[in-house]
């Protein structure tokens, strides 16, 4: 039976990249909105 580790690491690697990317996307979006909200009253 072949070990097939390459397939296992590919699956986990793709999942890790996708989840970290989404995690960072959420963090960046939250920061951007919070900054916009903090700046808005001063501009008005």
């Amino acid at each position: 039976m072949p070990s097939n580790w390459g397939y296992v690491f590919a699956a986990y690697g793709i999942a890790a990249v996708a989840l970290v990317f989404y995690w960072r996307h959420l963090a960046r979006r939250t920061r951007a909105l919070a900054t916009r909200r903090a700046v808005k009253p001063r501009a008005a």
């Binding site: 296992v8 699956a11 959420l26 939250t30």
Partner: protein, 213 residues
């Protein structure tokens, strides 16, 4: 609270990796490639959870017209698409060495692909309508109709002749899984659920901030 949930999810994922790669034995028939199941199965269970929340949020929005329910449905829909995508990709990678093909038009695979497309459509619909009230109303209808696909995906392996194996965790019979493999699956399922809860909390916060700015 949300930050603590995030760290708890990270801890869960680390324990899940240790359980999947260290504690659980090498599966006798499939070998190491079976370890993809510690990713594939929790991902699909998390996607089911997400789409059930889309359904509940959509029904509650139409009943109450409170925007919080629409935010819940939108957030859960987006995360559900992410986890359905991971389910399809990980299943495809598992299928190549196990079935000899990346993809086959089997009932479970096809219905899962349809589920993915329905909720991508749900997100596209949301992005196309500017009026918040109309967007929430139309999206709620799609969120309710789209949920019909969830039992179709789950029971597809029973209703049609399928290459995909029948349910071993959510099936009617007692699971034939080795206890160590079952425990590793359970730990990873808990970790993915924690991660889902963290993502949901962050995504709903973003939706609330978007409404205010």
């Amino acid at each position: 609270m949300t930050r603590a949930l995030g760290w708890l999810a990270v801890l869960g994922l680390v324990v899940g990796l240790a359980a999947g790669f260290g504690y659980a034995p090498r599966e006798a028939v499939q070998g190491n490639v079976q370890r993809i199941m510690y990713l594939h199965v929790p991902a699909v269970l998390t996607a089911y959870l997400a789409f059930v929340l889309v359904l509940l949020g959509s029904i509650a929005y139409l009943a109450t017209r409170r925007p919080g329910w629409d935010r819940l449905a939108a957030a859960a829909g987006e995360i559900g698409v992410l986890f359905t995508g991971l389910t399809i990709v990980s299943g495809s990678i598992w299928g190549k060495p196990t079935w000899g093909t990346w993809w086959t038009w089997d009932a479970r695979l096809t219905s899962t692909a349809v589920l993915f497309c329905v909720y991508v459509g749900y997100l596209l619909l949301r992005s196309l309508i500017e009026d918040p009230e109309a967007r929430a109303r139309y999206a709620a209808v799609v969120g309710i109709v789209g949920a019909v696909n969830i039992p179709i995906v789950h029971f597809s392996v029973k209703w049609w002749r399928a290459l995909h194996q029948p349910s071993t965790i959510l099936g009617p019979e007692r699971s034939p899984i080795d206890p160590a493999i079952g425990l590793a699956l359970f730990v990873n399922w808990v970790a993915f659920t924690l991660l889902f809860a963290y993502f949901l909390s962050r995504r709903m916060e973003i939706a609330r901030l978007e409404e205010q700015t």
